[in-house]
């Protein structure tokens, strides 16, 4: 594989974390335009851990995930009482605030005679963990996909659990969920925290893959895309947002002749889907039908053998 293919595939993997993050919140019925903030916080925190504190990468990823998750739960506890659109706007406001703060924060320490750390608008350079250990892009891509697989399995298990159906109840009808004894705000804060963790892992990986991060990357376009991936791919299963990412970053990026029109094609795709399949390609009903078909086939197998 050449570096270009590896980079595209790695981008698909890393963006998938933000897509899953937005998807988890969509499941519980809230629309966040601000998941890029937790991607950014995860990137900065993980970068600081390995480049400034010289911690190993796993500690960096863990710290990035925790910082993003705690922040997301805290912000959620303050804002999730707001209804619908008001909440969505508050997520956007918070994300912009994070970006603006990162634009001015300068905290640098001397490592091996060089200054390392966030340098305001210049960004945070020299997160050189990969180079120092001579790790190739291909090897790092494997790390990305290993973690993505882990996260995906965890999400699929959650979806099969009671927590998963509680999340879906909130997403389907929060008044009905409330009337059935569910603490709607409490469970949404939990979902927001978990979503923050997912975005934080993605950010931590991103910081180490590109070796530098700058606040500009965590702008609202990243958040809007993350949201759109779930809406394109479908809200019926965690595979949905991954399909969304693959369509956008994979297909549209690869098909060179639409390069200049990518945003137009992407926007059109989202619009068409929202009209004809408002809950995406793999929505709940299609997932239900697929599962029923698999189960029948499984039963037929069992009966035949």
């Amino acid at each position: 594989m050449d570096d270009y293919v590896i980079t595209v595939l790695s981008n698909i993997g890393m963006i998938s974390f933000v897509a899953l993050s937005a998807y988890l919140l969509l499941l519980t019925g809230v629309i966040s335009f601000g998941q890029q903030a937790y991607f950014g916080l995860g990137a900065y925190a993980a970068g600081a851990a390995t480049a400034m504190l010289l911690l190993p990468i796993w500690a960096g990823i863990l710290i990035g995930a925790c910082v993003a998750g705690l922040m997301a739960a805290l912000v959620g506890a303050l804002t999730l009482r707001l209804r619908g659109l008001y909440f969505s706007i508050s997520t956007l406001a918070f994300a912009e605030m994070v970006r603006l703060v990162l634009l001015i924060v300068e905290v640098q320490v001397e490592v091996d005679g060089e200054l390392v750390g966030p340098a305001g608008a210049e960004g945070f350079h020299d997160i050189r963990w990969m180079f120092e250990r001579d790790i190739s892009l291909g090897e790092f891509m494997l790390l990305i996909y290993a973690l993505l697989a882990l996260v995906l399995v965890a999400l699929l298990l959650i979806e099969r659990s009671r927590l998963g159906s509680i999340f879906r109840m909130l997403g389907s009808d929060d008044l009905l969920a409330d009337m059935q004894g569910l603490n709607v705000v409490g469970y949404r804060v939990l979902a927001a925290g978990l979503a923050g963790v997912l975005a934080g892992i993605g950010g931590a990986l991103y910081a180490h893959f590109t070796t530098y991060v700058e606040p500009q990357f965590f702008n609202v376009m990243l958040g809007v895309h993350a949201l759109a991936y779930g809406l394109i791919g479908g809200l019926g299963t965690a595979f949905g947002p991954l399909i969304g990412v693959a369509i956008d970053v994979g297909f549209l990026e690869a098909v060179r002749f639409i390069q200049g029109y990518r945003m137009i094609v992407f926007g059109g795709l989202v619009a068409l889907l929202l009209i004809f399949m408002p809950r995406g390609l793999l929505d709940e009903e299609r997932v239900h039908r697929l599962k029923a078909r698999f189960r029948r086939r499984g039963d037929a197998h069992a009966a035949g053998s």
Partner: protein, 252 residues
């Protein structure tokens, strides 16, 4: 079981409910009737915590629940149905009832991560029993949104059965039903819901009211204008005037 004192609910300038005093003793099936917009649904919403009352007090089973959030009230053992039917449309019949049950099961974080029971597993008997009682066991794997209206109303009732609610509030359980379906619903309320539970039934259909209620309360413009035994209340002149005035009693 349920006590309302001076209950009032205003929406801006509109007083949807005012000065409602009501006592529902345990074991009763109280009917609430009244013309459109008289505040019946508002009363039910205030009791279940959809919104807090503007004034007055609500007590349920000895606890003062005025101003409590809906989920806390529900956990005290209260269940309801909705005039415009609320189900989780993309869940199956089974999942809808199971969700109602486990939404109330405590069990901490670990309990939350336990896997959902597969239909047919050991954890599902209560759900199946509730579906059986309302005659929906055969439709268990159907998506709720594909059910016909009478079945959806019965699914809402199965949901109340499975959680062992002490107080069940039904908002027009026979709304949109044919006379035969209404009779069937009356039977379900009498034979399945009422035993061992206290019920409040909002209804327009006299066939259902006279068939199941042990007491009747009449609302008009947000005020209680009559209360007592159904036959006696329906005989009163003021009730006939405000409620039955424009409507043919046999049809309504």
């Amino acid at each position: 079981m349920l006590t309302l004192q001076g209950l009032e609910k205003r929406f801006g300038a509109l007083a949807a409910l005012s000065g409602i005093d009501l006592e529902v003793p345990a074991g009763e099936i109280l009917g609430i009737i009244g013309p459109n917009g008289s505040g019946k649904t508002t009363l039910l919403n205030a009791v279940t915590g959809v919104y807090p009352p503007s004034a007055g007090r609500i007590a349920f089973g000895g606890a003062d629940i005025t101003g409590w959030k809906g989920h806390r009230i529900a956990r005290l053992g209260l269940a309801r149905t909705f005039q415009n039917i609320r189900l989780f449309p993309t869940m199956t019949v089974f999942q809808n009832v199971w969700a109602a049950q486990h939404a109330r099961t405590p069990g901490g974080l670990l309990g939350l991560l336990r896997s959902r029971p597969r239909p047919g597993g050991g954890d599902t008997r209560r759900v199946e029993a509730a579906l059986e009682q309302v005659g929906l066991l055969a439709s268990r794997e159907v998506l709720a949104r594909h059910l016909p209206l009478p079945a959806r109303r019965r699914l809402e009732i199965a949901r109340a059965l499975v959680v062992d609610a002490r107080l069940v509030l039904l908002d027009e359980p026979a709304g949109g039903m044919t006379p035969a379906e209404t009779a069937d619903m009356a039977r379900v309320i009498r034979e399945v819901v009422a035993p061992g539970r206290t019920c409040v039934v909002i209804e327009h259909k006299m066939a259902l009211i006279t068939g199941v209620c042990t007491r009747l309360c009449v609302l008009d413009f947000g005020r209680k204008i009559a209360e007592g035994h159904p036959d006696e209340v329906l005989d009163r002149a003021e009730v006939r005037e405000v409620y039955l005035g424009g409507v043919d009693a046999s049809d309504a």
